[in-house]
């Protein structure tokens, strides 16, 4: 027999019966129960299997440190693997399953591993599985991988909603035990903005398990008073079920609130977060996280039924659950005796108290038999503890029958959050534990985390910590007055460290979840892995889901004991976020699925949609890529038609996503002259110019046109991809490099709906809606100015520029009118056969014309590589990139340079990304001549064409090459040529 329900239990509501299932079996508990308390109340102690040896394991703790009782809760998209039963609140309909066992938790085949124990010691895998060599990949590794892991993750997306919030406070109190509550009350009464967070379902910490009255008043009544007052203070924010899991720079604390994890599926509000990530900016922090009770390392200390003494007390007092009928206590400190007293007070027999100490400080006046100077050296029982073997101080062994064993090996302050920013905890012989680092700037530890023991002491410490923190902020306050001395409250303890029980027989576990035994740690030492960090990595001690909360200090103790030094000399391993594991869901918040990144929509998005556009993601934008018409089944049908129509008639294309920057200021021209490698000083009003921008290292950054719209007013366009980058770069130039220049920049990308109207009929179309003379004389190639439209009803900006190589214009109108204007242009163009075209057709036409994009401007090319070496001004004495552009490697004649490429046989196709080889050359990287940067089917020429960067390219026009695509297993004979496939003389452009 193991646990069962008894009277009492401050946290449970017996009127609220909740049904749940455990490994398919129907059980019930009460509102307020955790899954762990409910399982214990139902007599279920065996709940899981350990990782390596599949040993039967029970519930060890009543909180966040639980290493054993990990269950999978829920199903499908709501399946939570590796959930600590001690933290999961029971709700009606909850389904829990054991993990890492097959076929079931009671009979687990994997337990056979235990027999191989001697072979599977620490680091065994590094020494084995090497023979024969081929077996590792084929046999051993697959086997190891099969055994890996604990719970199984769901394959389904999570239907829950998640979110993230920022919060600000003067004082963040982490932990709402006696110390934290007193701190919050103190600061709250002084009027400070306070946030108090606790990961428990209820505030109270250790107070919740307190059986004795405080200052003559029942502990739960004292707690209720404090919580009531805190609730009434408007400047105090209380966050229950909220784990502060990490401390980051600048007093930013990350916390996760389990908003609806405790609710049955039917009660979940779909608009409310399941979990909420809090990013708390705190001016000051009080750390009141308490202390973790340590197990003792003795043979069979992992048997179900062995439990931490404090946890047992919590189950008893807070949940009304007795751990068994006949319990023993194995403890090396006075505080743990509370458990024995409370057990007796609740009518549970305490068979014996085994205490290694012989000192006179033991204070106990209960009924149980005291065995001082003794140790538990072993336990017995198959899936639950049946007896313990006690080694007396005279060397005699005695077997005592028990059905539960409470253990307490001392207390480890929960210092994690004080160490996340690099602080190292300090060993204290007085407290037999690692204390928070000395200098925790802006953070004041208090209560059990600072070594305090009694509730009254913790109340006082909390108040004092808050006063100190407030003083830092210049706020005055008095420590809150709280009830007086608690009965039986001890303010000093005498913990006598017991790192391991030397007379132990069976496997004595240090890390329960990872099955690290004391012998593994000594083996690691023997083999040279004796640094605490090496021992951790070699044995995996402290690397499980509990991150060594119950095991690290014992491992350090064992290392220290064996080396004959103090634990302080060994030191701890590094405390890292997260204090307890945090779900992806909480860290992602609402940014999932289609909301992963925001969507940018062009002002012409709706217009394009109405014309049946297919969209493509371009950065955050959606751009229209082609416009299928009825009967067109394949994208290229549409693209070919669009290209042909533009080349012979006219088309309209949305180019609103291009970056647009307004540039003002008396020195704007000088500024442009310095940021472009070509000349810009003499650009006249009403004209646009193509410009190339280099990085300071001499490579091309971006290209685009800039127009002069008025005196000291320019309008720059950038590529879509680098719109933000170019603005940032210009701001750097203006603010950092040349703050003495009067230049002012404003992004205007979103203000304008911009359309390219291209094709021989484009002038005729635009003439119908633009009020001004568009003749070649009045509005020549590269003209750029504001125009009146629709009989003076609208103003726009018209640019005669062409990416397609046709007679073409770009018209920009205020974004809200884009839709109407595009419709108007379609109407105006109807008689000429106008079609909308997308980025695909645009891409085809620019390749046909030999124009480059970021497919060619790939960050490793110079203007000369692109055949635009002449644009680099030799006259200007300074511009970004001038000097580095002249380096040997950047002018090497062997550099890959832009060429056109076409298949020798018109029916051949080839792929972008193919490499170029000389015919007959062996296939090798050393013989690589270059690569195809862009390709398309040219409807104008009727075959595939491409652009390529080829070594010494321009001098090789006409040369036959191999277009090599090893990935596809194809080679095609190609011919290098001029990159301008269409209208190399630019006649259409100027028409």
């Amino acid at each position: 027999m193991t646990g069962f329900r008894i009277d009492g239990g401050t946290l449970i509501d017996r009127n609220d019966v909740r049904r749940f299932s455990f490994n398919g079996e129907a059980l019930s508990g009460f509102g307020g129960d955790t899954v762990a308390s409910a399982l214990l109340a139902n007599g279920r102690q065996l709940v899981g299997r350990s990782f390596k040896y599949h040993r039967p394991r029970g519930i060890l703790t009543a909180g966040a440190a639980e290493p054993n009782a990990l269950l999978t809760i829920g199903r499908d998209g709501r399946r939570d693997p590796n959930t600590r039963a001690t933290m999961a609140e029971l709700f009606d309909g909850l389904e829990a399953r054991s993990q890492n066992c097959w076929p079931n938790v009671n009979f687990d085949i994997g337990a056979a591993n235990g027999l191989l124990g001697p072979l599977l010691g620490a680091g065994f895998y590094y020494k084995t599985f090497m023979w024969p060599a081929a077996f590792w990949e084929k046999v051993y590794e697959p086997l190891i991988r099969k055994a890996a892991g604990l719970g199984r993750a769901s394959y389904d997306p999570d239907p829950g909603y998640y979110e993230k919030c920022w919060a600000h406070c003067d004082l963040l109190v982490i932990g709402a035990g006696a110390a934290g509550l007193a701190a919050a009350l103190t600061a709250g009464r002084a009027g400070a903005r306070v946030i108090i967070a606790d990961e428990g379902a209820q505030l109270g910490g250790g107070l919740l398990a307190e059986g004795s009255p405080i200052g003559g008043k029942p502990a739960d009544a004292v707690l209720a008073d404090i919580v009531g007052e805190l609730h009434a203070l408007p400047n105090v924010e209380i966050k229950k079920r909220t784990t502060v899991f990490a401390a980051y720079d600048d007093q930013v604390f990350a916390a996760v609130e389990r908003v609806q994890k405790h609710l049955p599926e039917g009660a979940i509000n779909p608009h409310l977060a399941m979990e909420r990530l809090w990013r708390i900016v705190a001016r000051q922090v009080v750390l009141a996280t308490g202390a973790e009770e340590r197990p003792i390392v003795f043979g069979g200390n992992d048997r179900p039924g062995v439990m931490m003494a404090g946890a047992m007390r919590t189950y008893l007092n807070a949940y009304g659950v007795a751990p068994g009928k006949r319990v023993a206590l194995f403890a090396n400190n006075n505080q743990a005796y509370q458990t024995a007293m409370d057990l007796e007070a609740r009518g549970v027999e305490v068979a014996a108290i085994i205490d290694p100490r012989t000192c006179p400080n033991i204070r106990y006046d209960g009924k149980a038999r005291m065995i001082a100077g003794a140790m538990v050296r072993d336990t017995a029982g198959r899936k639950a503890i049946k007896s313990i073997t006690v080694r007396h101080d005279d060397g005699r062994d005695e077997v005592i029958a028990v059905d539960a064993l409470a253990v307490s090996g001392g207390y480890s302050p929960i210092v994690h959050l004080a160490c996340h920013r690099g602080g190292k905890p300090a060993w204290s012989d007085e407290h037999v534990g690692f204390m928070p680092p000395e200098n925790t700037d802006g953070m004041t530890p208090c209560g059990a985390v600072a070594g305090k023991i009694g509730i009254v002491d913790c109340f006082a410490a909390g108040g004092a910590a808050a006063v100190k923190a407030l003083a830092e902020l210049g706020v005055m306050g008095d420590a809150a007055t709280l009830p007086g001395v608690a009965q039986g409250d001890a303010t000093v303890d005498h913990v006598q460290p017991v790192w391991s029980v030397s007379s132990t027989k069976g496997k004595a576990f240090v890390d329960f979840q990872n099955d690290v035994a004391a012998s593994d740690i000594t083996l690691a030492m023997r083999e040279g892995y004796d640094h605490v960090e090496l021992a951790k990595r070699y044995t995996t001690n402290g690397m499980a889901t509990d991150q060594g909360k119950t095991s690290n200090v014992n491992a350090i103790g064992i290392l220290a004991e064996n080396k004959g030094v103090s634990p302080g000399e060994i030191g701890t391993t590094t405390f890292r976020p997260f204090y307890t594991p945090v779900s992806f869901g909480a860290l992602v918040g609402a940014s999932k699925g289609m909301e992963f990144q925001p969507i940018r929509k062009s002002p012409l998005h709706g217009w394009a949609e109405r014309h049946g556009a297919r969209f493509v993601e371009t950065g955050l934008w959606y751009r229209s890529s082609w416009f299928p018409k009825d009967g067109e089944t394949f994208w290229r049908d549409s693209v070919d038609r669009e290209v042909n129509t533009v080349r012979t008639k006219v088309g309209i294309c949305d180019v609103s996503t291009l970056g647009k920057i307004e540039i003002f200021g008396a020195d704007a021209a000088e500024f442009l002259n310095r940021v472009y490698c070509n000349a810009f000083l003499k650009l006249p009003i009403g004209k646009a110019r193509y410009g190339i921008m280099l990085r300071e290292d001499g490579f091309v950054y971006d290209d685009g046109t800039t127009s002069c719209l008025g005196e000291n007013h320019y309008f720059m366009t950038t590529t879509t991809a680098l719109a933000a980058g170019v603005l940032t770069h210009l701001e750097f130039c203006a603010q950092v490099l040349w703050p003495e220049l009067d230049v002012r920049l404003a992004s205007a990308t979103d203000q304008w709906a911009q359309m390219a109207i291209a094709g021989p009929k484009s002038r005729d179309v635009l003439a119908k809606i633009i009020d001004e003379d568009l003749s070649n004389e009045a509005f020549p190639f590269l003209a750029a100015r504001e125009v009146s439209m629709f009989g003076g009803r609208l103003k726009g900006r018209l640019f005669r520029i062409s990416f397609s190589g046709e007679l073409a214009y770009e018209i920009a109108v205020p974004a809200g009118y884009g839709d109407s204007v595009a419709d108007a242009i379609m109407t105006a163009g109807e008689e000429f056969g106008i079609v909308p075209y997308g980025t695909e057709a645009l891409g085809v036409m620019r390749i046909e014309k030999g124009h480059v994009t970021h497919a060619e401007i790939n960050g490793t090319v110079t203007p000369a590589d692109l055949g635009m070496g002449k644009m680099v001004s030799a006259k200007k004495d300074d511009f970004i990139g001038r000097v580095m552009n002249l380096r040997e490697g950047l002018v090497d004649p062997n550099r890959p340079t832009l060429v056109g490429i076409k298949p020798k046989s018109a029916s051949d196709k080839f792929a972008t990304g193919s490499h170029i080889l000389k015919p007959g050359d062996p296939v090798s990287l050393a013989n690589d001549q270059g690569y195809v940067t862009s390709m398309c089917h040219s409807p104008t020429l009727g075959h595939a064409i491409g652009l390529a960067l080829v070594k010494n390219g321009p001098s090789r026009h006409g040369e036959e090459v191999v277009i090599w695509n090893g990935l596809a297993g194809t080679t095609v004979t190609g011919i290098l040529c001029d990159p301008a496939f269409v209208d190399p003389e630019n006649e259409k452009l100027h028409a």
Partner: protein
């Protein structure tokens, strides 16, 4: 002591009481032929190959912390040779070949796991870039495959194909890529080097470098002065700091990179997968934890930790790729310091001082390079000429303009 089935069984019967230390723990001698600063992967591998291939055995590796406390002990363990540039690819492929025979070579199971590396692409432009890269690999005889959506779906059924903000179009796969148990690499090289007579000296920080004109004479350390004929730097995240001891300024900035591990899960991710629409890469360890990471923090740092913004960023990208991660819990995060070079590629060369050799600038990609880096650095140290696969890693390439910029982002360290 050699590890064999027999030694394992024998020890099992003697309660594992007879295992010997994997390496000695010697005090430093007054003089060595070669001193290697840095007991990370590269330093230890250098010592191993120096002693094994080039017969130089009077060697010390000085490590300021414990063995493997640097980046070798904190990386995401991905190995691959899917490089684009002619100066890089043959070197990384050489490394891959060394990985493939490593365990037999140094008699230590580092669990080299060639489970495949898949880089996802989400746009035509990315596909084209991967085609170019894959073909560059193929040109050098490196395995590469371009997978389409259907082929991907078979291998990675849990990716978001249906509702992705940036739909997955396909992936570039290197089947021979994979992961290696990082700590074991350090331990294996250390043990191998130790067996060849190399002194591995832990808790020994180099605090100064002694010179006589353009000659290094020895080093000052926290365990005293030590003399040497040749001095080799392989200090990864501390490159600039140690170089400053001889007044060298480097084209390097130090940046922190975080990595993460989830709670242990039953196996579901069999390969290494990298996301193409955000910074995220993931594999599953043999223990069951998902090991993953993202981009560097962005600001210069020597603190081995990062901040929350990047944690969120990584989680967001991860879930965009694998929606089922929502209820998977992240267990731990940590950081390492990378020496980010100005073109994203490493530097392995002689220096302005005649007997000082530099190895660094590995950015976040030096783990996969560990064996080849050790081999080639040993070659350089022993012969004073670069190994044939490492000729492009010259120090003067920045001044001369022969950059190895795989990403094409130019002289800004945090963009590589």
């Amino acid at each position: 002591m050699r590890y064999s089935a027999l030694s394992l069984l024998g020890n099992a019967f003697s309660k594992n009481k007879n295992w010997k230390p994997a390496w000695r723990n010697p005090d430093p001698k007054p003089h060595y032929d070669v001193i290697i600063i840095g007991g990370g992967g590269h330093g230890l591998a250098t010592a191993y190959y120096l002693s094994k291939v080039y017969g130089v055995r009077n060697v010390a590796v000085l490590e300021k912390g414990y063995l493997g406390s640097g980046n070798i002990g904190r990386n995401t363990t991905i190995i691959r040779s899917n490089y684009l540039l002619e100066g890089n690819n043959p070197f990384y492929e050489f490394s891959m070949k060394l990985w493939e025979g490593l365990e037999q070579d140094f008699n230590f199971n580092a669990m080299v796991s060639q489970r495949g590396v898949i880089n996802l692409f989400h746009s035509d432009a990315q596909r084209d870039a991967y085609t170019r890269r894959g073909n560059a690999m193929r040109l050098h005889g490196v395995d590469a495959e371009l997978l389409n959506r259907d082929q991907l779906r078979e291998k990675l059924p849990f990716l978001d194909y249906e509702n992705a903000r940036f739909p997955i179009m396909g992936g570039l796969m290197q089947a021979r890529g994979g992961t290696v148990r990082h700590d074991a690499v350090a331990w294996g090289f250390a043990r191998g080097a130790d067996q060849n007579g190399v002194d591995i000296i832990q808790n020994c920080e180099v605090t100064g470098i002694d010179r006589d004109g353009d000659q290094i004479t020895g080093v000052q350390t926290t365990r005293g002065a030590i003399k040497c004929n040749k001095l080799a730097m392989a200090v990864a995240g501390s490159s600039s700091h140690v170089a400053k001891m001889v007044d060298m300024r480097l084209p390097i900035e130090s940046h922190a990179l975080q990595a993460f591990v989830s709670e242990g899960l039953k196996p579901f991710i069999d390969t290494v997968v990298t996301f193409g629409a955000g910074h995220f890469y993931v594999s599953q360890s043999d223990k069951g934890g998902l090991v993953f990471g993202g981009d560097i923090e962005g600001y210069n740092s020597y603190a081995q930790r990062g901040n929350l913004a990047n944690v969120e960023h990584v989680a967001e990208a991860g879930m965009a790729m694998i929606p089922a991660l929502s209820r998977v819990r992240i267990l731990r995060s940590w950081g390492g310091i990378m020496d980010m070079s100005m073109d994203g590629s490493p530097i392995m060369d002689r220096t302005h001082l005649s007997n000082l050799y530099f190895n660094g600038g590995w950015c976040y990609g030096g783990f996969k390079a560990t064996p080849a880096s050790g081999y080639c650095f040993a070659h350089l140290l022993a012969t004073d000429t670069p190994h044939e696969t490492a000729t492009a890693f010259r120090m003067d390439r920045f001044a001369r303009g022969y950059l190895l910029d795989e990403k094409g982002v130019g002289a800004q360290a945090n963009l590589h």
